[in-house]
């Protein structure tokens, strides 16, 4: 069946409501929360700090270590086995790869920068919300960065390219394709691109175009969140 109207009534290129705030975890060097629709991510940055075990140390730069986790109560509330799953470990790795190109890790050889991303509530698009929060947290922590990183899930539902899929759309019975993309907003360079599903080149191009445009909007929200910390009186 053709997907002509989105479940929540949004336009095909419309994002869910977004809220972003920095400095939410006082203990951390830098932190941020990023909410998009019902998906709610919090990121906290600890470091640079000494890295143990020593064999993990890199001689010329800091190690960026991301820890992605969905809280036990974040989904439908069903019992979740404690500990990192294979999926968490993969998402941790792609988050690292999405952020490494922008952070100047060469400033701190042999140290580690730990980025913790926790999902308080999930409704799809979690790794992207996590990346948005993590980029904000790193900027909040005062790291030297080439640019921010904005991320969104674009894709195709039924036959229709859309942006910011929610869980209902991801699970669409007539087929959906999920394409998380992360972008450095200033140059449009892509730091994360994953594909979950089958797609033809034309739909892929349309979806990616929508995704990149959406990331520009997200970057505006991120910048406003960083500035807000210093313009409230």
């Amino acid at each position: 069946m053709k997907y002509t109207k989105r479940f929540d009534g949004r336009k095909f290129d419309e994002l869910r409501p977004i809220q972003a705030r920095v400095g939410v975890v006082k203990n951390a060097m830098g932190s941020a929360e990023f909410k998009i629709g019902k998906t709610h991510a919090i990121a906290a940055v600890y470091g640079p700090r000494e890295l143990f075990p020593k064999f993990l140390q890199l001689s010329d730069r800091a190690l960026l270590r991301c820890h992605y986790n969905m809280m036990a109560f974040s989904g439908s509330g069903e019992r979740v086995r404690p500990g990192p799953s294979r999926r968490s470990k993969e998402i941790s790795m792609v988050t690292e790869k999405a952020l490494e190109p922008v952070v100047n890790l060469g400033e701190f050889p042999r140290a580690v920068v730990d980025v913790y991303v926790e999902l308080i509530q999930t409704d799809a698009g979690t790794r992207c919300a996590g990346i948005c929060a993590a980029a904000l947290a790193l900027a909040d922590a005062g790291f030297e960065m080439k640019d921010l990183v904005a991320a969104i899930s674009c894709g195709v539902v039924g036959d229709q390219p859309v942006v910011d899929l929610n869980k209902e759309e991801e699970d669409y019975e007539d087929g959906a394709v999920d394409i998380p993309i992360a972008v450095m907003p200033h140059t449009g360079q892509v730091t994360l691109l994953q594909l979950d599903g089958e797609i033809d080149p034309e739909h892929l191009r349309k979806a990616l175009d929508m995704g990149k445009k959406a990331c520009e909007q997200i970057a505006d929200v991120q910048r406003a969140a960083l500035r807000a910390k210093y313009t409230e009186e």
Partner: protein
């Protein structure tokens, strides 16, 4: 034609374009990309002629020679002490820099400094690998006894001290506390009473929160006046 796209004291975010054209040069906290100067840190624009600097609003401590900081003795070996100064790399105080007095051979090192001591200490040198050499041999450096330590982000320390020490003197006078602000963001407070120490702490946390605001001395002064009346 080169154009400056931001104003002095404007808050910028990494990736923001500060200027277009080759006439402007990137200073600290900025980089060049093709013809543009781009911010690399969250901070405040501080142009110096054609060089655009960004004063960071947050960030860890970056040690430089001659910084006086507050550290804690973490470990010791037979000829040196290892000090935590809030930096990810090792800071060490060698035996010959520990004291201006003569240290006898076979003396017990913990008589001088033992693990857990809080010290006012100075950075002599930062090596290429990032290790730090410290000294205690200048008269004002000493062990700090009693009091408490408050930590603020290191870029905010200049605001805690103020122009020519105006801010820190204000707090000292109004609370009666001894205060020392280390370059690493740690501030030591020792006062005649817990209430005085608490007031000084609150004043410093206020500066930490509002470090980017101008007219801060007046704000802190009225805060201290109001609190004293209560």
């Amino acid at each position: 034609m080169s154009t400056l796209l931001v104003q002095e004291k404007q808050v910028v975010i990494p990736g923001d374009v500060l200027a277009e054209g080759m006439e402007f040069l990137p200073g600290k906290g900025a980089r060049r990309e093709n013809d543009n100067v781009i911010a690399t840190r969250v901070g405040i624009v501080s142009p110096n002629g054609h060089v655009i600097h960004i004063i960071p609003l947050s960030g860890g401590y970056s040690p430089r020679a001659n910084d006086v900081v507050i550290g804690e003795i973490k470990d010791m070996s037979y000829s040196s002490w290892f000090v935590d100064i809030g930096y990810p790399y090792e800071a060490s105080l060698s035996l010959k820099e520990a004291s201006s007095e003569f240290i006898e051979r076979g003396a017990s090192l913990s008589d001088y400094f033992s693990i857990g001591d809080i010290v006012l200490i100075k950075v002599i040198n930062v090596t290429k690998e990032g290790n730090i050499d410290l000294t205690m041999r200048t008269p004002e450096l000493r062990k700090l006894r009693g009091g408490k330590i408050v930590t603020v982000a290191s870029p905010k320390i200049p605001r805690v001290v103020g122009k020519l020490g105006s801010m820190i003197t204000l707090i000292k006078e109004k609370t009666g506390c001894h205060i020392f602000a280390g370059q690493n963001g740690r501030v030591w407070i020792q006062g005649p009473s817990p209430a005085a120490e608490k007031l000084a702490t609150e004043a410093i946390m206020l500066i930490d929160k509002k470090a980017h605001v101008s007219g801060l001395t007046a704000i802190v002064s009225s805060f201290l006046e109001k609190s004293k009346k209560e």
